[in-house]
Amino acid sequence: AQRVTQPEKLLSVFKGAPVELKCNYSYSGSPELFWYVQYSRQRLQLLLRHISRESIKGFTADLNKGETSFHLKKPFAQEEDSAMYYCALGRYSNTGKLIFGQGTTLQVKP
């Protein structure tokens, strides 16, 4: 079965501390992995995708097929990073049909 697991509902860190939001997936084919973010009172939006291998707002995520993980990392958290983060799994043939994790709320304290 295809599944995305985000084990932490809430992650609270101090400004300047490193952040790692965990995501594990279950998928038998070739996965496409994404991180979506929802800031307070804003709509859900794409943060980054594994295929781009880019850093967005200081965040990076590496697909580890051996561990079936796609953890989101940032070396120094900022207060404006506080938001709800969703990991999502798509198929190559239709990357818009996504399976989302339950989400992790990141709270960055001053």
Binding site: V4, R43, L46, G90, T95, G103
Partner: protein
């Protein structure tokens, strides 16, 4: 408009009533998706349109749910005989194609069934 527009933003109805939720995607986007988000959960896929046709409706929970996109632009999600368990935020998203990987979401329609 600049983004995906959904109406109404809030809908309160009584059990057994019929509800329509509308989505106006970004102009030129051929792919349109409906998702449902229950409290404390991530969005769950309902249905996907490529143009006018429903290319994948495997996420619709039962035959009370139906969606149309007659002209390949605006879409309407229709729910018959609503139940309390249908209460959720219904999200619409569009993209320029099925394989772009980036969905542009609307703000959602919050449905409450009393």
């Amino acid at each position: 408009g600049a983004g995906v527009s959904q109406t109404p933003s809030n809908k309160v109805t009584e059990k057994g009533k019929y509800v329509e939720l509308r989505c106006d995607p970004i102009s030129g986007h051929t792919a349109l998706y409906w998702y449902r988000q229950s409290l404390g959960q991530g969005p769950e896929f309902l249905i996907y349109f490529q143009g006018t046709g429903a290319a994948d409706d495997s996420g619709l929970p039962n035959d009370r749910f139906f969606a149309v996109r007659p002209e390949g632009s605006v879409s309407t999600l229709k729910i018959q005989r609503t139940e309390r368990g249908d209460s959720a935020v219904y999200l619409c998203a569009s993209s320029s194609g099925a394989n772009t990987g980036e969905l542009f979401f609307g703000e959602g329609s919050r449905l409450t069934v009393l």
